[in-house]
Amino acid sequence: MNASLAIFFVLAAVAVAAAVSLILQRHPIHSALSLIVVMVALAGLYLLMGAEFVAAVQIIVYGGAVMVLFVFVIMLLNAGEEEHTNFSKLAAYAGIPMAVAVAGLIAAAITRSTLPPAQDPTALTSTKSLSMLLFQDFVYPFELTSFLILVAILGAIVLAQREGN
């Protein structure tokens, strides 16, 4: 077993364990911290694949900005332990079989496919080709995302302001 495969299995195990922990934790702040661990492990996997720019964005935007927003809202609302209610029996009986069925279907489709193995990461000048693509072929979608962010900021401000002002 070579080194990169060992690193892959360690990072994958950390990601899956943290995702299971997200489900099992009862307090939302613990779930949020588990999700941060998943995101950091995924950033490590992106580095392993040679996608260093995506790894950096993953840490800065997801692990930084988005999760800080989540933790901030959890603390703002003083969210406590999840309460046990059983209004919906459907979720309990259909939820796990459906999720397992979807994951199984995806896994079956993957194992039947014949994909080329990932190319040598050192052979690709990843960030340069990424930025070339982003600012040439995808420049209109890129400009549209800035508009989307603007709309999201306006929406958040309108939602967050108190009524009566």
Binding site: S4, F8, A12, A15, V16, A19, L22, I23, P28, S31, L35, V38, L42, L45, L48, M49, G50, A51, V54, V57, Y62, A65, V66, L69, F70, V73, I74, L77, A79, E83, H84, F87, G95, M98, A99, V100, A103, I106, A107, T111, S113, L115, P116, P117, A118, Q119, L124, S126, L130, L133, L134, P141, L148, I149, V151, A152, I153, G155, A156, L159
Partner: protein
């Protein structure tokens, strides 16, 4: 080199765990985090495909997914704050105004 299938299977596992969390959790913030987990699983598959075919298109899509997720988090958490203020609870079972 690591086979692309390994990444895709890990992505499928994370997506399935996100689905289970989405169905089972009762706290509206945790459900939102489950959506983020599923988006992350899809991002992993995008990068794996991008590297398998030697093109950067998949990574550009990951950047777009991250932008949309950030916008979604801003608006969604605003809605969560409003809901929590009005219903005095974060439990999704108690937000049942549209239920028959």
């Amino acid at each position: 080199m690591i086979p692309t299938n390994y990444y895709l299977i890990l992505s499928a596992i994370l997506f399935g765990l996100g689905m289970i969390a989405f169905v089972f959790k009762r706290n509206i913030i945790t459900i939102f985090m489950a959506i983020e987990l599923m988006l992350n699983a899809v991002n992993l598959a995008f990068v794996a495909f991008s590297k398998a075919f030697g093109k950067s298109d998949g990574e550009v899509f990951v950047l777009f997914v991250i932008v949309v997720a950030a916008a979604e988090a801003a608006v969604g958490l605003g809605i969560i704050i409003l809901t929590a203020r009005n219903r005095r609870s974060l439990n999704v079972e108690r937000v049942d105004l549209l239920k028959l």
